[in-house]
């Protein structure tokens, strides 16, 4: 798919409250192109709640139900049930939530909606923190990252959330990035074509929270994939498929770039380099990455054996 094949119509209208360089805004713009206008969004408390703008105006040209922080998936369950009753179940019902509202406070509601086979798409745009309240740590914040509630760097690894979702054995889940727009577009279109619960997680490198210049958002998203810090994959009916650079890394065809390249361009990891290099922390980050990727290789290997 070429970039020019992406639909022209803008469903996310210009003039939002998003920060300049906002990855969530970029991701949602692409997602909405893939979904089309027959879509109802549920947006819990997160940056996107504010991005919409001030009543009585909004910048999303689809119906939107704003919702309490922890309840986007439950509200989406209700909307999905109503659409079925109204004979409109070809309407995309989509929850668009941050990592806080997904990994932490929203996990119960999401898990329930997935287990009930709710017909909807749940999209988590993950900027690895509670950004709307000003950069506090979340269950998605990676090891060693500075946030306003982990001033010395987070001491715990982030949750392996995609594995948690995989454990629900839903028809489709994927990991994507707005730095790979065609890949994201295709994943949303795939999800939209399947009935049942679908989950897509999009890495959203946030200039304000991760502390990097606002013109580097897309570049950093690419670097995340190139170092293996983020992955591009899909899992359909329990079968994993890796995409693009992630596939090449998995198969050993391309070496992942050193993780330090990714860490040292982000202010939230500055304390790992200045005033002294924190070898211990960087090693732990590298170790965990190896564990995750070895597990991916094992999972894919077992698939090939027909297990």
């Amino acid at each position: 798919m070429a970039i020019k094949d992406l639909p022209r119509e803008e469903i996310l209208l210009s003039g939002s409250a998003a920060c300049p360089g906002c990855p969530a805004s970029l991701a949602l713009r692409i997602v909405l192109k893939a979904l089309g206008k027959k879509t109802i969004l549920v947006i819990p408390a997160c940056c996107t709640s504010i991005i919409q703008g001030l009543y009585p105006k909004t910048c999303f040209n689809v119906p939107v139900l704003n919702m309490a922080f922890e309840a986007s998936a439950s509200a989406a369950s209700g909307i999905s049930a109503a659409m079925k009753r109204l004979g409109k179940d070809n309407t995309n019902v989509v929850a668009w939530a941050g990592d806080g509202g997904t990994y932490d406070i929203g996990i119960q509601s999401l898990s329930g909606a997935l287990e009930r086979l709710t017909n909807f798409i749940y999209i988590c745009y993950n900027n690895e923190m509670y950004s709307n309240t000003g950069i506090q740590r979340s269950g998605a914040t990676p090891y060693g990252a500075w946030t306003t509630t982990t001033w010395m760097g987070k001491k715990e690894h982030k949750k392996d959330f995609l594995e948690i979702v995989r454990a629900h054995h839903i028809p489709y889940l994927a990991a994507a990035s707005p730095s790979y727009p065609q890949d994201l577009f295709k994943k949303v279109q795939r999800a939209k074509s399947i009935k049942g619960p679908k989950y897509i997680e999009i890495l959203a490198p946030c200039p304000a929270g991760w502390r990097f210049p606002m013109d580097k958002t897309v570049e950093l998203g690419r670097l995340a994939v190139e170092t293996g810090a983020w992955v591009l994959y899909e899992c359909e009916n329990d079968v994993l498929t890796f995409n693009a650079r992630s596939k090449l890394i998995l198969e050993g065809k391309v070496e992942p770039k050193p993780i330090e390249d990714y860490l040292k361009v982000q202010g939230r990891f500055r304390h790992l380099f200045k005033p002294n290099k924190d070898e211990k922390c960087i090693s732990e980050i590298e170790r965990y990455l190896r564990v995750v990727w070895n597990r991916y290789r094992k999972q894919v290997g077992e698939q090939h054996k027909g297990n």
């Binding site: 703008g53 119906p63 139900l65 369950s77 209700g78 109503a82 109204l86 509601s109």
Partner: protein
Amino acid sequence: MKIVMDTGNRIAAKAVQMARPEVIAAYPITPQTVVVEQLAKYVQSGELDAEYICVESEHSAMAASVGASAAGVRVFTATSSQGLLLMHEMLHWAALARLPIVMVNVNRAIAPGWNIWADETDSVSQRDTGWIQFYCSSNQEIFNTIIQAFKLAESREIQLPVMVNYDAFILSHTSMPVEVPEQKDIDEFLPKFKPFWKLDTENPVTHGNMLSQEDHMGMRYDMHLAQENAKRLIPQIAKEWKDKFGSYQGELIEEYRCEDAEFIITAMGAIGAEAKVSVDELRGEGYKVGLARVRVLRPFPEEEIQRIAKGKTLLVIDRNISVGSGGGVFTEVKSALYGFCDSPVYGFVAGLGGKDVTYEDIEDMVRRVMDKKAKQTEWWDLKEIGGS
């Protein structure tokens, strides 16, 4: 019309089935569980054509109800005590979103100390959420009120969610005979839901984005006006029901032998029903006693209380408490009468945690007031509790 003999919960489920909601999102909690079980049976046997969502918590039950109602269909859910408290945030959400959700709440005491018996603190403590609140005293009233609640909630001048409360076990699990009308007559009384706003891809709007200070205040004021409208619409709908189906339990307040009374018991729910027996007993002894049974706590029927209280002594019995202040009905009655008349008002807190309150207890309370022995507020039949 047929007569059915069944428990409050099962009668409630029957009323809901006949009201034809299209989405039900529910979670079990004693002593409401039978309501959601019976509704699941109706749906799964085809007697109720609806989507039934087995949500994973009460907060999710109300969130799913908000989603479905916002999408433009009639919605129902049910809960009790802990569940009601868990969905507190979402109660506010439903009301501010002006969604006509109807919910049954079975009044049960709040934990810790697991106590599943009758106590109204759960719903009375939610009276600030913007929901209209009814308190029922009989299974017939439960049936009638639930159907009337949908009609009320869905009317243009209201557009607010409605909570129908009844006491744990005393009503929820007690069988009483109930007149059940024909489905076609219920359909005439309660036509299909027509939403006043909805999530519609043909007309995209955003609900609930950022709101300024003045606009927030304006939204709140409109809700307040809607509650004021309910003071007019509740009697109107009750009368429509009476004309069509014959049964009638009163409007905002049910007045029983109040006209020439000197002492008026003011109570809700099961205690309200029990008080009728006390009134009859005391009248039999020659005392001029009446009962003002508060059916509606929100909107608070100020004007009715003012009218009823003039020149009388009021005796309020609350099966709920706001510690540090007083019983909910008591404080609101006093507030309604302040500056209007100087009728004496006594407040009894009784029956918390399901402690039994019999017609003899109520008679004794009235006698204390009549004999000028009662303090302004009293906690009835208090037991000294433990410590070693």
